[in-house]
Symmetry: C2
Subunit: 215 residues, 2 copies
C-alpha cells in the first residue's frame, strides 16, 4: 500500500497539527474541502487517520509492519548497486574462471563496449569445467546465458523488486542496466548498457543496515 | 535498543489508553508507582512516551526506522532456516558436484551421523575441478573447509546476526547447529549437530517478506 504524495502531505499535516478539521487541512494545502474528500476517506479507512465528530482528524499512523514495508521499499537499486565485473565475449573459459577468483564474485557479466551480451555464474563455470572442453580455447560466449534470456533491473527499481526477481528466477545476481535505442542499425533495437549489479549480498547488507538502526 | 517486557507493557497501556497518569499505569500492572519510575524515565527519554504536567503520559512511539529495526531483529534463524544438503566425508569430488547440481544449492555440509565435519562451496568445487586431481577418487574431506575454521549460527540467533556473519566472513551460507557435549570420549569436546542452514537467499526472502506487508 503506497500513499500518494497528497495523502502523505495530509498525514504529515495531521501528525504535526492534530486534531485538525478537514477545512483547516484544505486551507494548509490551498485546495477546496471537497477535493480532499476521497483522500481523507482512504486515510481513515486504512487507519492512518481517525476522525472524531466536532473535533477533527487525529494521527494514528501506519502499523509498525507497514512502516517497515515502506522503509524497505524506499531502498532503490541505484543506491545499493555495486560495480559489475565484466569480461568480453572472446575471453576463454580458463581466464573467466581466473577473473571470478581474483575478483571474488559469483557472477560475471559478458559485455561488448559495456553493452550486455550475457552472464556466467559459478554454476555455469563449474558445469563447463566438468565437461570435455579445453578451457584455454573455449570462448565464454559459448557458455554464457545469452542476453535474450536474462532477467535485469534498472537503477530506478526498488531493491525489493530486485529481491523478488532473484527469488522468482532463482539467480544470485542481476545486471543493472539502462535501456538505449540503437539508431545505428537499419532495424533499430534496444540495447542494455550495464551500470552495475545487485546480488543477494546487496540485499543482505540492506537487511543488516535496516536492522541496526539506533534510537 | 531493546525494550524490556515491562517497558513494552507500559508502552502498550499508554498506546491503548493514553493520556494516562503514572498511577493508572501502576494500577494496570498491579505494582507501585515508584516501581515504574525508572521505566517511565527510560521510555520518555528515548521518546516512546511523552509526559505532560497534570495530564499524564502520551504515546509517541518508536521512530519508523527503529520499529523497522525491531521487526527485522525479531526474525530468528529458527524461523527462517532451510534444510541442509549433506554428504559424508568419503563422498568423492565428482559425486559431491553432482549433488550440488541435483539439489541446486551453493553450499554442501559434510557430516558424519549429522555432526558437522566441514563445508564445501561452489567456489571450492570449482577450484578443485580445475586442479590435476581425479574427481572420481578424491574424497571431499580433502577439499572441504574443516569444522575448526567454520562460522556457524544457532537456531536461537536472530537472522540479523546470521546476516552480519555472512557479510563479515564473506560466505554465502552458514550451518545452523546445536552444540552438544560428547561424553563418550576420555577427553570430552563439543560436537556440532546440524539442524539446517541459512543463506543469503534466506535473508533475501525475509527482506522481501517484510517489504510486502499489506495494510
Amino acid at each position: 500500500m503506497k500513499l500518494s504524495k497528497r495523502q502523505e502531505a495530509i498525514a504529515h499535516i495531521v501528525r504535526e497539527n492534530g486534531p485538525v478539521t478537514g477545512s483547516a487541512i484544505a486551507e494548509h494545502l490551498d485546495v477546496t474541502r471537497s477535493a480532499l474528500r476521497s483522500d481523507l476517506a482512504v486515510l481513515t479507512m486504512i487507519g492512518v487517520l481517525e476522525a472524531r465528530p466536532n473535533v477533527g482528524y487525529y494521527y494514528v499512523g501506519l502499523s509498525p509492519k507497514n512502516q517497515t514495508a515502506e522503509i524497505l521499499r524506499s531502498y532503490s537499486v541505484h543506491d545499493a548497486l555495486s560495480q559489475a565485473v565484466i569480461v568480453s565475449p572472446e575471453t576463454n573459459l580458463y581466464n573467466t574462471i581466473v577473473t571470478m577468483f581474483t575478483e571474488d564474485v559469483g557472477t560475471i557479466l559478458v559485455c561488448e563496449d559495456s553493452y550486455l551480451q550475457g552472464v556466467v555464474s559459478r554454476k555455469d563455470l563449474l558445469r563447463a569445467s566438468m565437461g570435455q572442453t579445453d578451457p584455454h580455447t573455449m570462448p565464454i560466449s559459448m557458455i554464457m546465458t545469452p542476453v535474450s534470456k536474462l532477467i535485469v533491473v534498472e537503477p530506478s527499481d526498488s531493491l525489493a523488486v530486485a529481491a523478488q526477481k532473484m527469488i522468482d528466477y532463482e539467480v544470485d545476481c542481476l545486471p543493472v542496466v539502462v535501456r538505449e535505442d540503437d539508431e545505428s542499425q537499419d532495424n533499430p533495437k534496444r540495447r542494455l548498457k550495464v551500470v552495475g549489479r545487485v546480488s543477494k549480498t546487496t540485499v543482505t547488507k540492506a537487511f543488516l543496515e535496516c536492522s541496526t538502526q539506533e534510537v
